[in-house]
Symmetry: C2
Subunit: 339 residues, 2 copies
DNA sequence: CTGTTAGCGCTTTCAA
DNA sequence: TTGAAAGCGCTAACAG
């Protein structure tokens, strides 16, 4: 009468056999006669049986679930990474629990607790802006839950990560600007506790150095990666007593904000100020055809990270893998198609 | 020596008490002395105990997990909806399993099976483009798993949904174009098995009718919601023997494709052709300042859908709720800020 | 090839 | 206020 679900015992009883045989049949074990298997499978579908993964997982001490922690799902880079993760995981028979830290360390901690309590088999994480202390990650290590950083990583010992070639991408970007005759090149950076922004900054400096352009502190503006920061940053560099003719933007959202503001105040891109910014599939085609972008495929990063994590999961007993996968980016220059 | 996790029995044994008392204490039951509670909690944190939700859920027949099915995570509308869902669910102590159907009915079915097997407490679903048959949803009904449609719904009996005011939004959009002196107004539509596109189409027709503009079949171009469709659709309407001066686009991705193509062939928006398109928070500000948009907040829809679902979940035993929540959209006109 | 048995870690009666 | 015992649904020895 109630919400009674069909169990293997029900099937066993009806068929007059033992429930373990049913279990084996349902798992397609070779240790069950084909005839019995057929009978069981038939009855199972007839009754609308559906395996209870909770019970199965509890017994097997494995959940076929991976946890994913991102700062914010709606950021295009992360949503496309998640798309890649989900797809790869789905193919391998894994579920994905998605959580967003909303850039808060507190939340990140609490999420990790939840994931641990749910006994996920592994974790993919892109750390929050606030995360400067990594004790909560040690919890994962202690519990021997494999985890892989993607995009926003941090430099703790013995970890795996999937990142883009930040330094080189930045270097190429700035060199590109220099070749386009920019000399006063500003850099819109991100939080310096995040390795990716540190490395992009280093790439910026290295390119200047190579081309004997003096580095100026005031041309580097950091921010908290919001769209409004783009506008504010532009104001800051425009207030300088000399003309800025190039801009290397380390974050797509900030780039969007910057470009919108530049449009508003009628400064032309790339004629008045040439810009190179990090971006990704969709945004880059939409954002501004005149913007040269460093394309990073979220999908690809998600896929790579998931594959690496799955490898670590199935490898558990053997020696640990501590791998760094670098996903290549590429510079795409667009001719302005604006009238 | 192995990956031995701390259980309530470990705590009980150490403290020389019974595991059920530990369980009660950890659940903050009033039926255990404060002194014992303190002792237990202290020992638990000391040992780094973490409740095994699998076991707990199995016993309680409840998972505090909701399943979410969307066509594609990386679509901005869906990723912002998911952001809203995750946030609302997280607050209520629920986990979220995200799945993408990739617009395939087959996958949608298989996902529902997985979610059932995982004993999710409820499901939020935005159906795929291919979904014209709803038998797989009946499975949810039979199992009494509450589910709520959001955005892309279908008209099966007794269901709950959170949608936007498609008809009115479309009507307003087209009326807006008419007021801007467009008379030959094209409509880029979507799959007509999806109610939302049906209703947007109806709104388009109604507005024309009200203003005594004859409806012309050839001005309506449907598509499979890809960016490339935007370009193709534009080609189709430009091939018509008269000038199109208005366009109502029922899908943001198609709108993006259309605008890019128009730019490429040097047709000015909105001077040569006025456009109103559905859009959402981020995209709308980026896509094209000259485009008037119907803004739909994915976040808000996700939040509303989750709240409705949670209400249904906790209401399980009592009478069913079959509610339709309509989230209002608003038309945002932008002045072109392009040079 | 199939059955018996024990138990994954937790909650929840029932009894004391 | 605590303990004893049963069992959620499944799997995995171990027997036979």
């Amino acid at each position: 009468m109630d919400n009674t679900e069909i169990t293997i015992h029900d099937i066993a009883e009806i068929l007059g056999i033992n429930s373990s045989t049913v279990s084996r049949a349902l798992n397609n074990s070779s240790r069950v006669a084909q005839k019995t298997k057929d009978k069981i499978l038939k009855k199972a579908t007839e009754l609308g049986y559906q395996r209870n993964h909770l019970a199965s997982n509890l017994r097997k001490r494995k959940t076929f679930t991976i946890g994913v922690i991102v700062p914010r799902i709606s950021r295009h880079f992360f949503s496309s990474a998640i798309a890649g993760i989900e797809e790869t995981a789905f193919k391998a028979g894994y579920n994905v629990i998605i959580c967003q830290s909303l850039e808060s360390l507190e939340r990140e901690k609490s999420i990790i607790d939840t994931l641990l309590a749910n006994r996920v088999d592994g974790v993919l994480i892109s750390i929050s802006m606030e995360t400067k202390n990594y004790d909560h990650l040690k919890g994962l290590k202690q519990r021997k839950i494999p985890f892989v950083f993607f995009d926003r990583h941090c430099d703790i010992a013995e970890n795996s990560k999937v990142v883009i070639d930040d330094f080189n991408a930045a270097f190429t970007a700035v060199e590109h600007l220099i070749e386009k005759n920019s000399t006063n090149i500003a850099h819109f950076s991100g939080p310096q506790n995040l390795e990716i922004y540190k490395n992009r900054f280093k790439g910026y400096k290295a390119a200047l150095e190579k081309h004997k352009i003096p580095f100026r502190e005031e041309l580097v503006v950091s921010s908290s990666l919001m769209e409004k920061d783009g506008a504010q940053n532009v104001q800051k560099i425009l207030a300088l007593p000399y003309k800025i003719d190039g801009l290397f933007c380390a974050n797509d959202v900030v780039a969007i904000g910057a470009i919108q503001y530049l449009r508003k105040i009628k400064i032309r891109v790339p004629e008045d100020i040439a810009i190179v910014g990090f971006s990704n599939e969709t945004i880059s085609s939409v954002i501004e055809p005149a913007l040269t972008t460093i394309n990073q495929s979220g999908m690809q990063i998600g896929e790579a990270a998931t594959n690496l994590l799955l490898a670590k999961i199935s490898n558990e007993n053997k020696k640990q893998i501590h791998e760094t996968i670098i996903v290549k980016t590429n510079l795409i220059e667009r001719k302005s198609t604006l009238r």
